[in-house]
Each structure stands twice: as C-alpha cells, then as structure tokens.
C-alpha cells in the first residue's frame, strides 16, 4: 500500500475544529464547595439538589481515579479546569427567535438545523453547548403527547419530582470517580420522560458541543420510559481543536419500566487530538440503563471515532424478568487515540437476554481495547447472552485488546462469546481495485462492510453520518 495515501489520510484535518465567538459566562478555574454552590446558585437550584451535589463532591474527594483501564495519560489537574461556562444569554430563550444568531450558526455549521420548520425528517433536538442547553426544538409537538423533552436545568425547575426520584437511581453518586465528579459539578444536559403507552413519534436528539477553552463538559442525561413506551434517542458530539486536553465526564441514565423500549444511539466525534497526539478530549463517560420492569428493553448503539481517550461502558442492568439489553459498538482509533470501551450486561431477572456486538478498528499508533462483562446472577434462570467482539488492525504500530469477563452463577444460562482479530486483506483491496474502485473507496467499502452489523442499528440519518465518519477517520490508513 502506498505510504503517500496513508500520509494523506492520517494528516487529514478534523472537520469540526473551528471555534465560534460566543460570549461565555464562566466560573473561575478550580473545584471546591464554593464552586459547586456557585453553579447551583447560577442555576437557581433547590436546596436538595445542592445537597446532592455536595454529597457527591465529598465522596469524590475520597475516591481515587481508576487505573485499570488500558489507557495512559498524564495526571489530570482537576483544579485547572473551568467547571462552569455558559453561552451568555439574557435568559433561557422562549423560542428560537430569541436564540443568539451566533449559536444558531454554530449548529448550522455542524449540520444541525435548529430551525424547526426546515426539518423534514422530524428530529427533535436539544443543543448543549459548553454544558448548557441552548435550544430544544419540537417541544410543543411532543408536549401534546405528554412527552417531556427539555434541558436538565429546565426539568429541575419544572419537574423536580421526576428528577429527584430518578436521578442517581441507575448510576449512584459514588458509582465511580468520574460519575461522582459529574454528580458534583454537572451543569446541564437533557431530560426526557415518555409517558405510559406512548410511542415517541420522532427521534429525540441531543447535540453536544464544547466550545470554550479550558472547560470541562459535565452534562447529564436522564431518560425515563414509562410502561409500554418507546423512544429512540440520538446523541452527537464535537469540539474545537485545541492544544490542551479537555475533560468530558458525562452521565447518562436510562430507566425503563415494564414493556418499555429505549434505543440510545451515539455518534461520538469529539476532537481526537492531532496526528502527534497533542490535544483532544478525554472522554470519561458513565452510561447505564436499568431494565427495571419485565419485558423492558434497552439498546445501546455507539460509533466512537473521536476523543484522545475514550473510557466508556454503556451497560444494562437486566433486573426485570425477561428484559433484554443490547450493545452495538464500532470504535475506531487512529494516530495516538486510545479507547477502552465495552459494556456490562448484568443479568438479574429470569429469562433475561443480552447481545453484544463490538467491532474495533485500530490504525496508526492507537490502542483499542474492548472490555466487557457478562454477569449472570444466581436468580437469572434461563439467561442468554451472545457476544461477538472483532478487531481489525491497520498497520503494525497499533494494538487491539479484548478483556471479556464472563461470570456465571446460574446453571441454566447459555453464554456464548466469540472474538477474532484480523487485518484488512491486501487481496480484498486488490480485488476492489481490479474492478475500478480506487484504494480509498475500497478501504471505506471494506470497513463499512465489517461494521455493517452495528451501522444498520442506527437510524438512517445517523448511519449515513457514521459511515462518512468511519471513512474519513480511516481511509488509506492501511499499511
């Protein structure tokens, strides 16, 4: 394979690396109880939430940053981060006309139109910039069905009972180091409640964007699917190119009641750093769904192409009898990116099922790890799991690692795990070329074929974006 093409593609610039001149309102650097009080006051939060945050903070100060992931990075100075940065706006806009035009332009540039009438596909968007939700579209249409889709801050003000009841019910405050940090300092995020028996008629989408420098982004998403409801939720993210690393520590909680079905899809394209490994987002995210009711279902689909470091395990706690969990993942790493990602499927209820399909692709000097756990507890009669973890290597300077833990405590469980590692075959590329397809397209074709099982889980519009991203990240990096 020609080295020039590798060079050309690995040196390709990050597409979303621009910054916008949006005035921000920020807290001073550093983290202490005062900052937390400041954030809470800024957001006009009730006393219980402040207490919740402070409790999380106190727990966090006693916790240690985890060292078990297969990633290396210099120590993070948590006092050198700005924990609150918000686009300066007079007030939370009541309609899109009130939104700062600079902001609207920012999202236009990302290919996300916040102007409702232009949207034909009907995706409701909550746009979060530097941890603060700036606009939520289609609110009224959704409200007619009783669906609540708004920023987390708004939910705290308008639906405090729901927030108070479910926040932390899936990811407890002290679950892990980054979740505790998030619980202390989260600034905004999305909130969604689907009432009993309602099938959400459109995709709900949150778009995250880090813009300000030296800022950490700590958003929190809470999705509550009441009995028999259905929702498909999309999440996308980008960040500008900056030389210093930026921290993103988010928490996503999904609570699914009896017969509810939640589909959560992510296309993660945070800035990965440059080709020397300078800059990029540290993405330490806790995502977990609780299948609380019987026959409930939670599916995670993720396409991870960005971030300097990814530490992320979207998981399912299958508590309700006959509930099921799915995890479909494509994780691509190039240059000096490191990803340690996977899932946990905790089978508690009877007849619970889970399926894991993970496709890792490593190129350049990157390290890509799958880490997963399938745990069948004693009560989980007849639990089933199937896992498939494949790794594709491009070039001889990257690494692929799989760390699956399979713990079975019930003798009626059926667990199957398969993993393979391979490279893109020279003969496959040559075959495509012989049919007149150029090398770049050939690699894109083969990689998309390899990832197909995951990509087909994504809603149409997202799938197209994901395919393009995959091609962009990888084309030509075959050695």
């Amino acid at each position: 394979m020609s080295k020039d093409i590798i060079e050309e593609f690995t040196s390709r610039e990050y597409e979303h690396g621009w910054t916008t001149n949006i005035e921000v309102d920020a807290a001073p650097k550093g983290l202490n109880e005062e900052i937390i009080r400041f954030i809470s006051a800024k957001k006009n939060e009730p006393e219980w939430l402040l207490e919740w945050r402070l409790k999380a903070y106190r727990q966090w100060t006693r916790m240690k940053e985890p060292t078990w992931p297969n990633v290396k990075y210099p120590p993070i100075d948590y006092q050198d981060i700005i924990y609150y940065a918000a686009p300066k706006q007079k007030a939370r806009p009541e309609s899109l006309e009130d939104v700062d035009p600079e902001l609207l332009k920012t999202f236009e540039k990302l290919g996300i139109s916040l102007v409702e009438q232009k949207r034909l596909t009907g995706v409701a968007v909550d746009a979060v910039i530097d941890s603060v939700s700036v606009a939520t579209t289609f609110k009224e249409t959704l409200a007619e069905l009783g669906i609540i889709f708004c920023s987390f801050s708004e939910a705290v003000q308008k639906h405090p009972d729901l927030v108070r009841k479910y926040m932390g019910s899936v990811v407890p405050v002290n679950d892990n180091y980054f979740a505790a940090l998030n619980s202390a300092v989260f600034t905004d995020g999305s909130f969604c409640y689907i009432p009993k028996g309602v099938r959400c008629p459109m995709e709900l989408s949150t778009y995250f964007r880090i813009n300000a420098a030296n800022t950490g982004q700590f958003e929190r998403t809470l999705i509550i699917a009441d009995e028999g409801s259905y929702v498909s939720y999309l999440e996308g993210c980008t960040a500008p190119m900056r030389d210093e690393h930026q921290l993103h520590a988010a928490v996503v909680e999904i609570y699914a009641m009896k017969n509810a079905h939640v589909k959560y899809s992510t296309v993660q394209n945070w800035y990965p750093g440059d080709k020397e490994g300078k800059g990029g987002i540290y993405n330490f995210v806790t995502k977990r769904g609780l299948c609380a009711g019987e026959h409930s279902k939670i599916s995670w689909t993720q396409v991870e192409t960005g971030s300097a470091i990814t530490w992320k395990y979207p998981s399912c706690i299958l508590k309700g009898d006959y509930s099921s969990g799915e995890f479909y993942s494509v994780a691509v790493t190039n240059n000096y990116q490191q990803a340690d990602t996977g899932t946990k499927m905790i089978h508690i209820g009877k007849g619970t099922r889970s399926r894991i399909v993970s496709k890792g692709i490593s190129a350049g000097h990157s390290q890509n790890s799958y880490r997963g756990q399938v745990h069948v507890l004693k009560r989980a009669e007849g639990a089933r799991n199937f896992s498939q973890c494949d790794s594709l290597l491009m070039g001889d300077k990257c690494g692929a690692h799989t760390f699956p833990y399979i713990d079975v405590e019930n003798n009626t469980a059926h667990i199957e795990h398969e993993a393979t590692t391979s490279k893109i075959g020279e003969d496959q590329i040559f075959y495509c070329q012989q049919r007149g397809i150029d090398e770049e397209s050939a690699v894109a074709l083969i990689v998309n074929g390899y990832a197909r099982e995951v990509l087909k889980q994504l809603p149409m519009e997202f799938a197209v974006e994901a395919q393009k991203l995959l091609a962009l990240t990888l084309e030509g990096s075959v050695g």
Binding site: G425, E426, D427, Q428, F430, Y431, C432, Q433, Q434, R435, G436, I437, D438, E439, S441, A442, L445, I446, N448, G449, Y450, A451, R452, E453
Partner: protein, 250 residues
Amino acid sequence: MLSIKNLCAKIGDNQILNGIDLEVKPGEIHAIMGPNGSGKSTLASVLAGREEFEVTDGSVEFLGKDLLAMSPDERAREGIFMAFQYPVEIPGVSTVNFMKTAVNQVRTHRGLPALDAVSFLSLMKEKMKLVDIDQSLLNRSLNEGFSGGEKKRNEIFQLAMLDPRLAILDETDSGLDIDALRIVADGVNKLMTKDKSIIVVTHYQRLLEYIVPDFVHVLYKGKIVKSGGKELALELEAKGYDWVKDSVAA
C-alpha cells in the same frame, strides 16, 4: 490493443517472467497455456497490477497508454478486467453495493453520468440473465459462502456489468463442472464483440472448446515457447506438456 514487449517480472528473488512478447488486436481471443509454474497466472496478475510482482524489464502498452505506470484501479477503469482464479470474499459488502461503486467509478472515468438506483437495477437485471445468477446471491456478502461455481459466475456477471475492452480470464475453468463451465463460457461469448479482446489463461484445453481462441501460446519457464492456432491446444492435449518441455530442451 495490447502490446507486451520483453516483459520480465519477479516476486521476491524469484524471477518468473523472462521476456514475454505478445500482441493482442481488437476482436481477438488469445489463449495462454502452459504447465503449472510456467508463469501463466503471474502474467495475468502483472497485467492487472498486483503489487507483489516487480516488473524488472520490458513494456506493456494498452490502447496506446503505458499500462505499467497505472495503479490497478486505473487499469480497470481504462478497460482491463481480470476474472480471478480465486475470487476474494468481503464480509458485509453485498455484490450489489460493490458493483454500484465500481460501475459508477468506471462510468465517471469514461465521462458518463453515474447511474441512479433504478437504471442500475435494470442494468443488473439484464446482465444477471446472461450468467443465470440469482438476485438473492447478489444481495449477500460478496463471494462469502459462495460455491466455486457461484463465485466464477459472479466474476462473469461483473465482467458483463463493467463492460471492459480486454478481459483476462485466469483459470476460470478450474473447479467447474461441465454445466457450470458451459454457462460461464456462454456468458463470455455473448459479451464478445469486434472491438473487444480476451486473454484466456488455462491449464487445460477443455475451456477452449467453448471459448474458441484465434491464437494459442504456450508458456514455459516464463517465456512463450510456441504459438499457433486453435489446433495447438488440441495437440498439447494429446501430447502433454512434456512434449513442449522436450522440444524446448532439444
């Protein structure tokens, strides 16, 4: 159309082609025969542009252009098609998707507009009949889990779709039973026109009963040691390759 002069090539330290001269004109069918290891498949691979082979001497002109200076996909877009002896499997990529990508890249190169979904499908339907290939097969991952015969038919289907000027059939008959061989050969014959050419690389005379060559060349130790009409193939079949080896030694 194709003019090969003193072509020499090696793989690693192994010199395989030792000065091949061959002239192929439009409308001609040439058969390249020879014992195992004589360099037949290497010649096909070098013409298609496989990178493992290093051309050490000689030149190849295709439609007036320097073929050796082109990448494999450029050669394909210029009109060279190779039917592989061992077609490659690509998981997750359907033949339909694969062909759509290829056909449109070739068309763009020829200054034609890309085909939309509807016209692509009708073109596909038309060509499918030619090799008696089933739609369901084409919706599956490329060559994955195909039988030997299905793979070879898929090669000829692709040949039909891409409409090249020169087709190189590398041991297309290997592993085919007589019925499959007939289907494949029929397909090739239907595609043949006055301005196209075919190079058939084969070990056996069998395929040449169906795709009748104008010229037969015998390759031995990387050189063409004998050329003749279609009778040469029959003579080879009757006398065996030892006859060639002996006559070269003599």
